[in-house]
Symmetry: C2
Subunit: 379 residues, 2 copies
């Protein structure tokens, strides 16, 4: 019995593989091509937390193993699935940065081809390996939802025209060349489910923040932590800015709410879903989100918790470069996710986690603090 | 002033390029990599109508020219756009066969990578060439709609959850690895429109039938006509079966209605849209459909018109291999399309067109009549 975790060198993938290895009496195979390390180097940054090589990480538990493979390559995927015959695939591999995908046409094309190819190869690979009972879990993004003026369902919704109605999947509302790839993957996973009954779960992951999980702490094998404009999500980047003594720049009023989730809860929900197995017959959608948080509330929380670390955090409001509703409330159903995770970590506790870690690595951050902003000359 | 037509060697692309060259006092540049010829050969079939090489076709009018290029290659696209600076791009290039995309994982991956790459390269290429005023017209498919239980809008629709509502784009409901690519392209075109105001029109093309247009007839330069299981659409394939004395096989009751449109109207609507230009500010959606037709009505029309050609057309009902509602009515709004095309050709007249052409090429069809059915051993 094997669980395959893709993107197993990544921010979410590594702690997930580690928790699964600890919790399950099974082999956990992590696969990655280490591309994330290259992308971050490509934008001139580093992980704030120094991370070990996969060889060191994957020696941590006897039932963990690591395979270097490029999932955009069909043959490599097929070989991997044929050999390991996983009963569950946690697909957490992707070029996951919206700003990176927005740099230029080359990065947009790379992002879309890379993410799409991995998804197609895994889905068809499962079928061709005779693994059509394998639970395919993909971590996608709440970014597929855009910012509609109704509470976002956990799954499809009702569409209406001329007074008649039907339930439909959620449309592709993502605002970047990255975000839409996760809608593409959704559509493909639905095909695998309708055409050959592949059990599929779609974890729509919110903005993840955090540094440690119980296992990474205990073993001293941390996950990476990006804080640059391209790969640092807003919570993590703001915390790094706070530690570097750099003001937190809030776009406009900052009352627009963004869905967020802690790393600990992200990992726990995936592990529970792997243990519990596929819930229904169709594509199960989970909104992997604790709650939407206003950007200004986030900044103020970091300011407040920062005092415990003797950080004097400044908040500045700048003109919003984005066209967005600065008061968008982003209501999002998450009952199914809550069942997976139990009592979630508070934003305050998550920020405390992050600041605890980052204050130990202040020098690595201040050495790259110019990376907080986009490099317009990047090509 | 130049119009660029992609897929310019294809079934719709060639007669479209020809009509534009005749109608406009401008250069019309057709681009293609001739892949369709390879795909049809790959499935062991041929065009029922012998077709000329692009060199011969594109010598027909002084303002027509042809470029051999692979649009999945970023550099080739950029060069093409930089050199020709089109004010309108008609993007009719694609691997357009659902059954071909369903053959196996390799074909699925190829179809998705090919179609997606072309779309990304054209959209970003326009931006990078400084052609963000160029009207980008893509022929997609009514297959993006699936078969919902409400009249299909010509554009987005209203989504509702917990009593609140908003207008959203149509979700990806396509049922094949090909069909969903057109939803991917829709999402990308929306990004180009929202991010840098690229004028975009999305012609959602129904099942096209027909052989000739006024120009192909007059010049004796016909478009291709596929009748095999993979590349022959249902109307054209049924007509070929009728000519070959092969029974028309209706799946189940055959009362399910499918959206259809004649080739003459398809070409005319594109030409009008090129002339008229982009209509609004957003992404203009047109349902390029005359009307939905029940499969059994289609078969009976061919049977009836067949009598004029001394064809004794047999209709057989076989068990439906597909999971579909055999009475789905497929209501579809098409007011915007009708404004482009005026009085459409009737199905009966279209079938008469096709049978007139095909009875001249009966031998080419009967030589390949085993191609009406899927080749299960194809790999």
């Amino acid at each position: 019995m094997t669980v395959l975790v893709t993107g197993a060198d990544g921010y979410v993938g590594w702690p997930t593989a580690l928790r699964l290895a600890r919790r399950l009496d099974e082999r956990v195979v992590g696969v990655d091509n280490l591309a994330r390390r290259d992308w971050v180097e490509d934008v001139g940054s580093v992980s704030a937390v120094p991370v070990d090589d996969p060889e060191t990480r994957y020696a941590a538990e006897p039932n963990l193993s690591f395979v270097y493979a490029d999932l955009a390559d069909r043959d490599e995927v097929q070989q991997l699935l044929d050999v390991h015959e996983p009963h569950t695939v946690v697909h957490a591999a992707a070029q996951p940065s919206a700003p990176y995908s927005q740099i230029n046409g080359e990065r947009a094309l790379y992002t879309q081809r890379n993410n799409l190819s991995m998804n197609v190869n895994l889905l068809h690979g499962l079928k061709d390996a005779g693994l059509d009972d394998t639970h395919f879990i993909e971590t996608t993004t709440t970014g597929v939802y855009g910012a509609p003026e109704f509470p976002i369902p956990e799954g499809g919704a009702t569409m209406e025209n001329q007074g008649e109605r039907d339930d439909v999947p959620f449309p592709a509302m993502g605002g970047s060349w990255y975000h839409v790839t996760k809608s593409f993957d959704n559509a493909n996973a639905r095909l695998a489910n309708t055409q050959w009954d592949q059990p599929v779960s779609d974890l729509r992951t919110a903005i993840v923040y955090g540094t440690e999980t119980d296992e990474t702490e205990e073993l001293g094998l941390p996950t990476r932590f990006d804080f640059d404009y391209y790969f640092g999500t807003v919570v993590n980047r703001f915390c790094a800015q706070a530690v570097a003594g750099y003001p937190l720049t809030v776009y406009g009023k900052g009352e627009q709410r963004k869905p967020m989730v802690g790393l600990r809860d992200t990992v726990e929900s995936i592990a529970t879903l792997v243990e519990d197995g596929h819930d229904g017959e169709g594509v199960d959608v989970y909104n992997q989100v604790t709650r939407p948080v206003a950007i200004v509330e986030l900044a103020e929380t970091i300011q407040e918790v920062g005092e415990e670390f003797d950080l004097d955090v400044e908040i500045t409001h700048v003109e919003n470069p984005r066209e967005e509703d600065e008061e968008h409330q982003m209501e999002m159903e998450n009952e199914r996710f809550e069942e997976l995770v139990g009592e979630p970590q508070s934003l305050e506790a998550g920020v405390r986690d992050v600041l605890t870690t980052l204050t130990r690595h202040r020098d690595r951050i201040t050495a790259r603090e110019d990376r907080f902003l986009p490099e317009v000359l990047l090509d």
